[in-house]
């Protein structure tokens, strides 16, 4: 399997996002860490797992009291050259989502790739 590694995403930092927008600050704070690392020239991969896939649902808005949400931050990712976006395939299915309908271009990652990602990045942060 070691010879197959080249096919997987590599990078300095893997940020695993496991929470949806609005309900908690996890998604926001995970994205902030990713943006800062990218601004410092690090290669960042984002992995959306579990309910984290709902971060990529289109049509989000601010909350009723004026909460900003995270959709505007997600739209900044490209500006920071963060274009390695992976989505847990099982979670997509669980939420009835399809990779083509997401807010940003992302690739579905199956079990084999998931289990390799932490090995192909120098640092892994879970949010």
């Amino acid at each position: 399997m070691a010879n197959d590694k080249a096919q997987w995403m590599e990078g300095d930092l893997l940020v695993i996002l496991r929470h949806g927008p609005h309900g908690t600050s996890w998604l926001r704070e995970g994205l902030d860490a990713a943006l800062v690392a990218a601004a410092f020239g690090r290669r960042v991969t984002l992995l959306f797992m579990g309910e984290g896939v709902t971060a990529l649902v289109p049509g989000q808005s601010g909350g009723p009291l004026g909460q900003k949400g995270t959709a505007p931050t997600l739209e900044m990712l490209e500006m920071y050259d963060i274009d390695s976006l992976l989505v847990e395939a099982d979670a997509l299915a669980r939420f009835g989502l399809c990779v083509d309908g997401l807010l940003l271009p992302a690739r579905a990652a199956g079990p084999l790739e998931l289990s390799a990602l932490a090995r192909t990045h120098a640092l892994v942060l879970t949010f």
């Binding site: 609005h22 309900g23 908690t24 600050s25 909350g63 009723p64 009291l65 004026g66 909460q67 900003k68």
Partner: protein, 131 residues
């Protein structure tokens, strides 16, 4: 007209609980009900942090609660035991614990858990917002 109480156990920012509770509180008052009090317990005590400085383009929950108290005469009761452990002290408690400075001020008041039981049994409805 019914009497409502709210129990809030989520910190602002970290969880949506405070946003939900404040919005619900406004809606309860708007429907002509009497909101007797909001009790802050567990991490909800952080809603009373007078030093909170969120970005200017985001809602300021601490101010939001103070405005609710002023608009509708709602008492804001903070569990004293939960607050002290988490660094939330009013001037009196700061003095008692020999600390310089304080982190809670009116309209928030530090009070005992008995007030929660009282609020819950006195009101027609107690609605809990957890983290």
């Amino acid at each position: 007209m019914m009497r409502y109480g709210i129990l809030l156990m989520g910190a602002p920012y970290s969880s949506q609980a405070a946003h939900s509770a404040l919005r619900f509180a406004r809606a309860v008052a708007g429907r002509g009900h009497r909101l007797e009090g909001v009790f802050f317990y567990h991490d909800g005590v952080h809603n009373a942090a007078r030093l909170a400085a969120p970005p200017q383009d985001e809602p300021h929950l601490v101010d939001g609660w103070a405005a609710l108290a002023e608009d509708h005469g709602v008492s804001l009761q903070v569990c004293i035991a939960a607050a002290l452990r988490r660094g939330l002290l009013d001037e009196r408690e700061a003095a008692r614990h020999g600390k310089q400075g304080h982190s809670v001020e009116p309209p928030f008041e530090l009070t005992g858990l008995g007030q929660l039981v009282d609020l819950g049994l006195r009101c027609d409805r107690l609605v809990t917002f957890g983290p």
